[in-house]
Amino acid sequence: MGFQPIKFYQTGTYTVGNRLLSPDQRSVQAGESRSNSINSGHRACQGCGEALGARYAIDAAMAESHGQLIAVNATGCLEVFSTPYPESSWQVPWIHSVFGNAPAVATGIAAAMKVKGKTEVRVVAQGGDGGTTDIGFGCLSGMFERNDDVLYICYDNEAYMNTGVQRSSATPPSARTATTMPVGPEPGNAFGQGKNMPEIAMAHGIPYVSTATVADLRDLEYKVRRAMKMHGARYIHIFVPCPLGWGTASNDTIRIARLAKESGLFPVFEAEHGEVTSVLKIRRKVQVEEYLMPQKRFAHLFGTRPHPEMVARIQDIADRNIRKYGLLDKEAA
């Protein structure tokens, strides 16, 4: 990730801010003048990863576009908790149409701005994993294929949360949801490919694809700002833990995201025109158990009737990611 070499400040670059850094090296979130795109009073659950990830991302996009930003929102938690009619938490121009058409609406707005000659106005579309990998999938693929000038951000919490935690095509194997109950010989969601949206986006050969987590704000901000410097269709996939749907403590949201990255289950990388250009290396490697055990949606893998063979299969997924993306430094491995 090399946007800033580690310096021996007492906290390096891992904290949100740092009084010892010069102002231009600090994160957007550290600034008192950040736009706070989603304001207080929204109805997200305690410790919501999506509310946090959305503010991180849209604040960074606002900073990069100098406040000239229009945000389009698919239906989903983010839309429901931020904007119960007639009140809204959004402090940016914001539009919601229906569940499946956010990419198409964004395409239309980008085209309209072009026609009006407002080239400084940038467009961001955002949705959850349901609105992205399932319901909005067709529109999104079209947006990529046409290379429309839109940054699409997916906040991935791995299921349909606001309707009561139903499975999506981003739900990981063996996770319990309302529709994949922990029963039978292989409890929870079936093992399978699911839809790996970042790789599908890369397969479209669009200018920029990257992944990020709420556990690494600086990396996330770097990626949003980098995407905003480009034109054409861009895609960022942000991993946002959901305390409600995953059965985690509300103060564990960031730790869980960190463990997903450090175990290798969620590879953090960026790609241009279909090719991976950089990966965020694992810093303190952990086994997948450490990530799975704090989550009640995986409770059936442990406890009195454990499923070590399923844990092993999940570890295989992590190990494959580590190999495939080169997530470990040679000396650390």
């Binding site: 304001n39 997200a44 305690q46 503010r55």
Partner: protein
């Protein structure tokens, strides 16, 4: 307002929705006690002064440091730094080099000529301090800054006490000591040298209070049958004579009897005086040795030899008779009856020191037990207005403890003069390692660690090589984890999903907006230094 089609309500903001009502636990900011501060015998606010050193504001750091201890350049050389033993960073990679940064600040102050600020007001009260050692000087310094008039009466020809007459020059150059003593005198403290107090009750008549810090200068003796020609001296006189023009004549083969830091100092000094062999004879084992391990190690590196489990039975010209010992079940040495002879040109006894209490004769209501003056919690002896501290009341005798004693005594004397009782502020809860979220601290990178080790080596070889330079000191200071005390990393401000943390600006930290805080606890979990705590809401 003309509303668009099908819209019947005015748009509103979510700020109307006070989500703080969801909360069952609330985060609160707090300062926890960093382990280094907790361990410091002088009560220095180490984390506090490192904070200023981190931003390169060395003068501010020095001023905060010297609020507790007026001798940073001395401490940075001779303190045994228990702070570093407790440093939480030691569990991460290696402890912050607090002692070396302290030395850097002390040297910087001497180089730049920083002075203590004069007291704001004068109390008109007079205090007599007896003894110009670390404890007496420290008390004089604090009393002067509190506005009292202070006079020090010192029996010896120079100020510094054991800092001058006990600690060898290779550990503490005298110009450093002189500079730090002079800075205290510049506050208006009067120093009377060669002025031995014979009767304290009489001497303190002109004063409102007196502080006794005469130290422990009388060498303990052990009965060793000795021939007429045997050359036996004690460690205190030997180290003291190092300060005079006539260096002690010890010969080529010197035996030191004892196992404390003084024994080590004597042996290392003997080596520097040209002794081919300096041998320490100690009756127990290395594990039981009271000397600090690193000093033993350094002495061994310098070629000092140590004979364990041995006592000296007889001293004659040119040779000693030594009896071998063994440890009994309780770890106490017992004689074995096996003897051997050792060649020795001289024998130095380093068996501990006693206090000269003759000046206390005739003072009513004093209690003296085992040669140690008994004082109450406020350091006052049984005689009103007469306080005592330093080596003469302490069992653990070193410069840092003594300086801390002086500070404590000054506070109690100040309270006594104002007719009140000094109450130390309650200690904050300890910021131990499990309060930290160490993810956020940089690793000392592999490419950098060797450089770090070199810095360390430089500091432990003190006067042979200088201290840290500015960039190294800054680097070392920035390794501080700031345990338990907010260092404004903005993590809480950043990680709150509800924007319920208000940033108050540089140096002003943060506050919570409890109208919207849902009590998720992310701020507390992600605070690197453990400066946020979740407490249950009252329901």
């Amino acid at each position: 307002m003309i509303k668009p089609f099908a819209i019947t309500l005015k748009p509103g903001t979510s700020l109307a929705n006070l989500t703080g009502t969801w909360r069952t636990e609330r985060p609160v900011y707090l300062d926890r006690l960093p382990p280094c501060n907790n361990a410091c015998p002088s009560g220095e606010n180490i984390q506090g002064w490192l904070y200023h050193a981190e931003s390169g504001d060395y003068e501010h750091a020095w001023r905060l440091l010297t609020e507790e201890n007026p001798f940073p350049a001395v401490m940075g050389r001779v303190c045994y730094h228990p702070c570093e033993d407790q440093c939480n960073r030691g569990k991460l990679d290696s402890p912050v080099g607090i002692n070396s940064v302290e030395r850097f600040l002390g040297d910087e102050a001497i180089k730049r000529g920083w002075k203590f600020s004069a007291p704001q007001h004068s109390s008109g009260r007079r205090v007599l301090v007896v003894g110009a050692g670390p404890s007496g000087l420290s008390a004089a310094y604090h009393l002067a800054r509190m506005g009292h008039e202070v006079e020090i009466q010192e029996a010896g020809p120079m100020a510094g006490g054991m800092m001058r007459f006990g600690i060898p020059q290779y550990r503490l150059p005298r110009n450093v000591l002189d500079a730090e003593v002079q800075r205290i005198l510049d506050l208006g403290v009067r120093l009377q040298l060669n002025s031995k107090v014979a009767n304290i009750a009489q001497s303190m008549q002109d004063f409102d209070a007196a502080f006794l810090a005469v130290g422990a200068h009388i060498a303990k003796r052990a009965y060793i049958p000795a021939g007429d020609a045997a050359h036996i001296i004690d460690a205190v006189s030997m180290l003291r004579s190092m300060e005079g023009a006539e260096k002690p004549l010890l010969g080529r083969r010197v035996v030191v009897y004892g196992g404390g830091n003084t024994a080590i100092d004597v042996a290392r000094t003997a080596r520097r005086l040209g002794a081919a062999d300096a041998i320490i004879v100690y009756r127990r084992t290395r594990e039981k040795m009271p000397a600090h391990d690193f000093e033993v190690e350094e002495a061994l590196q310098e070629g000092v030899m140590i004979k364990w489990l041995s006592t000296i039975r007889q001293a004659d010209e040119g040779q000693l008779i030594v009896e071998k010992m063994r440890l009994d079940g309780k770890g106490m040495p017992e004689p074995t009856g096996e003897f051997e002879t050792m060649e020795a040109d001289s024998l130095v006894l380093a068996l501990g020191q006693d206090v000269d209490l003759s000046l206390l004769e005739g003072v009513p209501n004093l209690e003296i037990k085992d040669g140690i003056v008994q004082v109450s919690d406020n350091m006052m002896t049984g005689y009103p207005g007469l306080f005592a501290g330093g080596d003469m009341v302490m069992s653990e005798r070193n410069v840092t403890v003594a300086a801390g004693q002086g500070k404590k005594a000054a506070r109690h004397i100040d309270a006594f003069l104002r007719g009140t009782v000094y109450q130390a502020a309650a200690k904050h809860e300890l910021a131990d390692y499990d309060k930290l979220n160490t993810w956020y601290y940089s690793d000392a990178d592999k490419t950098v660690r060797p450089m770090l080790d070199i810095i360390r080596r430089q500091t432990s070889f003190d006067e042979i090589q200088g201290g840290l330079d500015e960039s190294n000191a800054l680097f070392e200071a920035r390794r501080c984890l700031s345990c338990g005390n907010c260092f404004e990393c903005d993590n809480c401000y950043g990680v709150c999903p509800d924007n319920a943390v208000i940033k108050l600006g540089p140096g002003k930290r943060f506050k919570f907006n409890y109208d919207y805080c849902k009590g998720c606890g992310l701020c507390a979990a992600e605070c690197p230094c453990g400066a946020i705590k979740m407490v249950p809401e009252e329901i």
